[in-house]
Amino acid sequence: MDLGLSDEQHQLVDSFTNLLAKASTPEHVRAAEPGGVDQALWRTLRETGAVTMGVAEAHGGWGATLVDLALVAERLGRAVAPAPVIEAQVAARLLAAIASPAALDALGPVLAGERLVTLAVRPPQGGMAALTPAGAVCDAVIVLDGDRLLLVPVSDRTRRPVANLAAAPLADIDLSPSAIEGAAATELAAGVEAVDRFEAALDEWLTLTAAALVGIGSAALDLGCAYAAERTAFGAPIGTFQGVSHPLADDATHLDGARLLAQKAAWSLDRDDARGRELAAMAFAFASRTAEAATYDAIHVHGGYGFMLEYDVQLHHRRARGWARVWGDAEAADARAADARYAGARHTTTGAR
């Protein structure tokens, strides 16, 4: 067992930390609301290789592992970065994994930074991919339509951006043939393969989102701890009161556990381990609950100030919920973990409840 990072991973973390410290400050995050994307940041991230790095070298990428991407995702979460990195990474990896001529055709412009392809993490219902992450800014979306995995072009005519809690670039996307008109959908896979590919991509999205949630929660915890150490009330720093310090200690503990679990899930998926799917769902469930609690406590510690938009901690509170629930809540992930753990499973779920 080795829980440490390699030299390359330390460099990776440092480079994204530095980039985000300059290009994803709270001012940038606020300025990008409500649309949810800072175009300059997104361009810088793409040029740095944030999307390309995750694709196998054989398909023109840098062959980063999911563990590497999870380390990056945590930094993105810490900075609540207004850029659709995780969705773009997962969709690009999905196209590379399918590796059919159609998929590789679609992958080319993605790696060239010309097109943004996203993933509808929940299968569409009634011809609508609702609240699709990065849907407001994507050029195309990959959806699991029954047992067909489709790449569907998206335009302003077929999407309706949705103002939302997290100020994320979400959109309801109309997938009906009449809406798409001439721009035909491409079938990427069908039958069992389509479902398997989608579920594998979802495992990755859940894992990377879990890592991002750890980052969101950790940044909020840091804000809460710093405030509690400095703010005085009743003649003492409020951090000396156990009613204040103990929830923060619990959050610190749970965040460490959530980080380890997200990294283990990523490591497990990298190895095609039999427990990969179960661990990915567990990581999402635990990180989701943890980030919700940590951001709540961080706001609460600030007292009335935590409720003010001027304080940064509210940025984390809203994203701790919004980034996760576009797929589902922690209980939906519990159910997915159970299906994987107790396989042979008469109950299978795809996407959220």
Partner: protein, 384 residues
């Protein structure tokens, strides 16, 4: 980053399991449960023969590195093996090795390592609880030794052990951490009285009384007045035993219940709420194991898990309590059937877990004490 356990460590785990199969037969397990004892002479000696008791002060080079020690403790805990007196003995051995006289080391350490000498802990007191430095038990110097008066709480195995490790006040005018001294006291000395204390989990512990108990000066461990400092120094690398195995045992019991058809013929695991709640318990087990693994990994890497050790203890024990509560509720009315009742669900292991869980968040440092340490060392918050 590598979460895999290496083959050599897995081989050691297999060896420990084979040892348990040989030395912990079902009838011993049953007897220990009924009596509430946490020690068995034969089992302790068998551990000693393997060289599994002695840490770094043992007769040979320390046979177990932190990773192996963790595997051993985890497997013993999972099997509910009677090793509490062994572990308290090993802990006291560390203190004796660090600050005891040469004569005392020679007299006591080999017996601890072989499993023949057992030592109970006499640290906390009726009025002390987690605030161990609030010790009131006193030792006053007399010709040739010391006379001890006072009482100690939760001296588990005090009725069966050879010695009790005492933290006492030798300077009557001192306060708090100053003026304390550590002793090893043979429990057969006149004036020692052991009274059984029965607990909600069935474990037996004791309150021990000391009335004019005389011990020769050679039983003193620390320098006079230096007891607290030498205790902390000796134990700074000592971390609480792993608790996640108890959670693993609970989850296994609940999964066994869920997989079998009930009286109405339905299988609980077919119910979505059962599946979700079991998965949630399994997730918390995963986290508990990871936090423990990190503590062990840090130790093996030469780091001191100052906040990480308490995080592990806090999370694992709180998770045991939370899940024992939730899983007994999940099983429903049948979870009320006791372990001693032949109709008990999965041998009453879930009912027992609910009882057992309550102590875990208290002994070896309450959850509140752990949170104080984490708040200070991880969150950077000022001390109260």
């Amino acid at each position: 980053m590598d979460f895999a356990v290496d083959a050599e460590t897995e081989a050691f785990r297999t060896e420990v399991r084979a040892f348990l199969a040989e030395h912990l037969p079902a009838e011993v397990e049953e007897r220990l449960y009924v009596t509430g004892e946490s020690h068995d002479d034969d089992f302790a000696r068998a551990l000693g023969e393997r060289g599994w008791i002695a840490p770094e002060w043992g007769p040979e080079e320390r046979p177990l590195d932190p990773t192996h020690a963790h595997v051993l403790e985890a497997e013993l805990a999972k099997a509910e093996a009677p090793f509490y007196a062994v572990s308290t003995g090993a802990m006291v051995g560390r203190v004796v090795a660090a600050s005891g006289s040469e004569d005392l080391r020679a007299e006591i350490l080999p017996g601890i390592a072989s499993g023949e000498v057992t030592i109970a802990l006499g640290m906390t007191e009726p009025e002390a609880g987690s605030d161990v430095a609030a010790v009131q038990t006193r030792a006053r110097p007399v010709d040739g030794g010391w006379v001890i008066d006072g009482q100690k709480m939760f001296t588990t195995n005090g009725h069966a052990a050879d010695h009790v490790f005492l933290l006492v006040r030798t300077d009557p005018d001192s306060r708090r951490h100053r003026g304390l001294t550590t002793f090893l006291v043979p429990l057969d000395r006149p004036g020692v009285e052991v009274q059984a204390v029965r607990t909600i989990s069935g474990e037996r512990t004791n309150i021990t009384y000391y009335a004019d108990v005389f011990v020769e000066d050679r039983w003193r461990i620390s320098e006079v007045g230096d007891g607290w400092r030498s205790l902390m120094l000796a134990l700074q690398d000592e971390h609480s035993a792993p608790f996640s195995p108890h959670l693993a045992r609970l989850l296994e019991a609940a999964e066994e219940w869920a997989a079998a058809p009930g009286v109405d013929g339905t299988v609980p695991l077919d119910r979505p709420d059962v599946r979700r709640r079991l998965a949630r318990a399994a997730t918390e087990l995963e986290v508990a194991q990871l936090l423990e693994a990190r503590t062990t990994w840090m130790e093996a890497s030469g780091e001191v898990p100052l906040a990480e050790g308490p995080m592990s203890k806090l999370f694992s024990t709180e998770a045991i309590v939370r899940n024992a509560e939730d899983l007994t509720a999940l099983v429903g009315p049948d979870a009320l059937r006791s372990r001693t009742d032949p109709t008990a669900v999965v041998g009453g292991r879930i009912e027992h877990a609910l009882r057992f869980s309550l102590g875990t968040t208290i002994y070896a440092g309450t959850s509140e004490v752990q949170r104080n340490i984490i708040a200070q060392h991880r969150c950077g918050l000022p001390r109260a």
